[in-house]
Amino acid sequence: MMASLGPLAPLTPLVRDSALVWLASGVVGVSFGAIAVAGGLPVWVPVVMSLIVYAGSAQFSAVGVLLAGGGPVAAATTGLLLNTRTLAFGLAVADIIGRGRIARLLGAHLVTDETVAFALAQPDPARRRAAFWISGIGLFAVWNLGVLAGALAGGALGDTATYGLDAAFPAVLVALVLPALREGPAVRRSALLGAGLALALTPAVPAGVPVLVALAGLTVYGRGGGRRTA
C-alpha cells in the first residue's frame, strides 16, 4: 500500500490516507457539535470539550449521558472509562512519539485510535513517527474545526448514518490492522479471542469495558513466534 521510492515519497500516500480520515472525522465532529447544541448546551461547551478532552467516543458518551439527565459524575465516569484504553495506546506508541519534553507533552494529547492505528501500520520507525504526527496534528485540527462548525451551524448535515459514515471508522481500522493480522499468527489469535470477548460482553457491561477485557486475548499470544506484531 505504501511503496517507498525516496525519502519523501512515502509521505504522499500517508497524507492522502490521513486526509480521508480527517474528512470523515471532520464530519463526525460537525455532528458532535450539532448534537450537543441541539440538546441545549451552549456553543462553547462542545468546542472547549473537544479541545481539552479530544476523544470522539468519550465526548459523545459524556454529552449523551449529560443530555439524558444522567448527571455530570456519570458523564465524566463514562468518558473516562472509554478513555482508559488510551493508557495502553500511550505505552504502545511511546517510542514513536519521541523523548523531547514538548514531544511527550503534545504527543500524548494526540493519542487516538486512528493515529495509533496509522502509526503502527507503518513499516519502519521513521515512517511510524511521521504517520503519528501527520495524522495526529491534522486530525486534531479538523476535528475541532468540525465541532465548531457543527455547534454554530446546527443540524445542517442531517443524519450522517445516511452517508454510511458509521461504517467508515471500523473500515479505517480494518484497513490499518489487516497487515499486522496477516503477518502475525500470535497477534491474530489474540485479536480474535479479544474481539470475541468484547462482543460477548457488550450487551452486559458499561461502554468502554468490553474493549479493555479484549486485552485478555493476549493470554493466547504465547511466545509470539519472533514475528513483528505491528
Binding site: D17, L20, P42, V48, M49, I52, V53, A58, L66, G71, P72, A75, A76, G79, L80, N83, R85, T86, L87, A88, G90, A92, V93, A94, D95, R99, A103, R104, L105, A108, D113, V116, L120, T162, Y163, G164, L165, D166, A167, A168, F169, P170, A171, V177, L178, G184, V187, S190, A191, G194, A195, A198, L199, P210, V211, A214, L215, L218, G224, A230
Partner: protein, 104 residues
C-alpha cells in the same frame, strides 16, 4: 453550568493523564523487549476489538445489517489489496446504498 465545567475538566485531566503515562515513562523505565512486544500486540488487540464492537454494536445492542455489511466489504477490499481510500469509501458507500434501499 459549573457542574458541566467540572465534568469537562475531570474528563480532560483524567484522559490526558492516561495518555501521558506511556510518553513520560519512555526512556526512564526500561521495558523488557518482551513487554514492548506485548504492548504492540495489545494495541492491535484493542483496535480489533474496537472495530468489531464498532461494526456490530450500537448502544449495547445489534447495530443492524447495513453497517457490518459495509465493514465486510471493507475487509474484502483490504484483503484483495485495494488502496486505503477505496476500502473506506467502499464501506461507507455500501452501507449508504443498503440504507437507501431500506436495509437498516
Amino acid at each position: 453550568m459549573s457542574a458541566t465545567v467540572a465534568m469537562m475538566l475531570a474528563l480532560a485531566v483524567g484522559t490526558y493523564a492516561f495518555r501521558l503515562v506511556g510518553p513520560v515513562l519512555h526512556g526512564r523505565v526500561e521495558l523488557p523487549a518482551r513487554v514492548q512486544e506485548l504492548l504492540s500486540a495489545g494495541a492491535i488487540v484493542l483496535l480489533v476489538a474496537l472495530l468489531a464492537t464498532g461494526a456490530l454494536t450500537e448502544a449495547g445492542g445489534f447495530a443492524g445489517w447495513a453497517r457490518p455489511a459495509g465493514v465486510l466489504v471493507a475487509g474484502v477490499l483490504a484483503w484483495r489489496g485495494a488502496p486505503f481510500p477505496v476500502v473506506v469509501l467502499g464501506a461507507a458507500g455500501a452501507t449508504a446504498v443498503l440504507r437507501a434501499v431500506g436495509v437498516a
